[in-house]
Amino acid sequence: MEVKNASAGTLESGDILIQIFPSEAEGVQIDLNSTVAYQFGEQIKTVITETLSGLGIDHVAIKATDKGALDCTIRARVTAAAVRATGKDVWA
């Protein structure tokens, strides 16, 4: 699937900013910066990866700036960013 640069989310407390970039490399590369990295870093990466693979997206680089978002928020932001990056409406 062709992917353009896109983003979703904010830097507010309790939110996460997801930026998607096309990548040559296989799979999903995540650059995570989180205020709760020690306790939830791995879990956040897992949620991002699973959400993208559920949408059939790979060959992307993700820059995620997290301010303590819950899993549901992370899934919503990743999905919105993916829709903007691919132009394909997953809700249609």
């Binding site: 020690y38 306790q39 303590g68 978002a69």
Partner: protein
């Protein structure tokens, strides 16, 4: 031998001989200007006899606006001092320059109530060889009085001082530059330190009365451009929180107080910092008016809120160890019913008359509360030091009713947990925990639980609160602690309560 000589010999004393010296007849307004106590900072340091390895102390009444610690430690570094022990009543973000002084060996030990910002981050990662000693405000007062914390030279900032050393946290001169109000945390230092240096940005004529620190305790007076930026203590106006969650917590806390059995004419109260606990007073105020109930005193940590209620006649006296804002500082200066007290008179366990012993109600905040009602206010849930003990354990232990107000979650960080990261206030001191999902009452207080339930408040089990938090956020991974002890938490009775280990950044 004359009778006089015999009397003197019997007492081991000399016989009086009239002196040949003539009086100094300088007019006294001029004479005080030649006071030998007024010297430069370098001269005061030299004359104080400070040596490598000794203990220096500071107060934190200017909070984020403090100019004294960085000035004095910077000067000591230039003069070549090493291995000094820094005993501050607390440290703030503004004290980041201490990092270099620690790296250069100027400061090798620290004791304080808390620390924040970069300094705290570096220390949490193992910057210092020796662990930082953390004490509560009451605990520090006791430690200074009983010799556990011996201070060689105290460097105390004051907003006015006369050439003889009478000093206070405000000024009555029209050349006043700063104001911090109460000097409560500096008073044990002034009394017990071997040498006391007052730094002031307003050198006024003798006698600077009423004074907080007496000339009797002061060895040197140093004039400096600025001891502190008062605007950084807190804003002068009453700030009402607009956060709906804080307002909900505040209303619940006020209901707990009203129905606790302690809401009676002549009760006493203290509030900690934090939006919800300050707002609780606002709702309590209305209940006091409606029920015609007046408080005998408010303690603290005095804020503009408390001053307003005092001026309205709802609170008879204010007892002030630290003025939290400019309104409180001005009130301390102008109102005789607003009393300044030392850290010992405020909250020392071994001081029979400490105000906390006679406190009915305290409302406090928390970073974490655990299922055994233990509280942490010092170390963040990421293992990094980011707060201060303050008077938390002192007031919680002594007050007849201690109420902790905290949200269930802060972002993804749970505030109700299995076990606190660092133990600051033991669960035996904590009576009620107020969250937006219900109120938990310590099983040690069944009568209180009954009263609150009867009043229709939503009482929950603290374990259910913890489970509810975990359900929302998922299970946190354990923190990457190392094996080095970077901090030791002292209980207020001088025993060791807990240790803080270093955080190791995962690769």
């Amino acid at each position: 031998m004359s009778l006089i000589e015999a009397a003197a010999a019997g007492m081991g004393k000399k016989v009086y001989h009239e002196s040949n010296k003539t009086k100094d007849v300088t007019p006294r307004l001029n004479l005080q200007k030649e006071s030998g106590k007024v010297v430069t900072l370098e001269e005061a340091i030299k004359r104080s006899g400070l040596k490598d390895g000794m203990t220096i102390s500071f107060h934190h009444h200017f909070r984020g606006g403090d100019k004294v610690v960085n000035l004095v430690v910077g000067t000591l570094a230039k003069m070549g001092f090493k291995n000094l022990k820094l005993a501050a009543s607390s440290l703030q973000d503004v004290h980041e320059p201490l990092i270099d002084h620690i790296k250069n060996g100027v400061i090798t030990e620290i004791s304080t109530s808390g620390m924040r910002g970069e300094l705290a981050r570096e220390i949490s990662h193992g910057l210092m060889e020796k662990p930082v000693i953390f004490r509560s405000h009451g605990g520090r007062g006791s430690a200074i009085a009983n010799g556990d914390l011996h201070i060689d030279v105290a460097f105390l900032g004051a907003s006015s001082c006369d050439p003889l050393g009478n000093a206070c946290g405000y000024s009555r001169s029209n050349r006043a530059k700063s104001i911090c109000g109460s000097l409560g945390y500096a008073l044990p230092d002034a009394r017990y330190a071997d040498k006391v240096v007052i730094l002031t940005d307003n050198l006024v004529d003798y006698p600077n009365t009423p004074n907080a620190i007496s000339e009797h305790d002061v060895d040197y007076v140093v004039e400096v451009p600025m001891v502190g930026d008062s605007s950084k203590i807190a804003s002068g106006a009453i700030r009402d929180t607009k956060n709906p969650r804080d307002i909900l917590l505040a209303k619940q806390a006020a209901k707990v107080i009203v129905n606790s059995g302690y809401f009676k004419n002549g009760f006493s109260i203290q509030t900690g910092s934090g939006g919800a606990s300050l707002a609780a007073v606002k709702y309590l105020r209305q209940s006091m008016i409606d029920n015609d109930i007046k408080a005998s005193f408010a303690l603290g940590g005095i804020t503009a809120h408390m001053v307003k209620m005092h001026e309205e006649g709802l609170i008879d006296r204010l007892i002030d160890v630290q003025s939290f804002d400019k309104v409180a500082a001005e009130s301390l200066k102008n109102d005789a019913m607003h009393k300044e007290v030392s850290a010992c008179e405020y909250a020392a366990k071994d001081e029979p008359g400490a105000a906390t012993h006679y406190l009915d109600i305290v409302i406090l905040s928390a970073l974490e509360v655990d299922v055994n009602f233990n509280v942490n206010v010092l170390v963040g849930s990421d293992g990094i030091i980011r707060g201060a003990i303050g008077g938390h354990p002192d007031t919680a232990e002594d007050a007849a009713l201690s109420i902790i107000v905290c949200p269930l979650l802060r972002g993804r960080i749970p505030c109700v947990v299995d076990e606190v990261t660092t133990l600051i206030t033991p669960g035996s001191s904590v009576d009620v925990v107020v969250t937006e999902y219900g109120i938990a009452v310590n099983p040690r207080r069944p009568e209180l639980k009954e009263r609150l339930a009867k009043a229709g408040l939503k009482i929950v089990d603290i374990v259910d609160l913890k489970d509810r938090a975990l359900k929302v956020i998922g299970k946190p991974a354990p923190l990457p602690f190392g094996d080095k002890v970077v901090g030791i938490v002292m209980n207020r009775d001088g025993s060791v309560l807990d240790v803080i280990k270093n955080i190791v950044e995962p690769k």
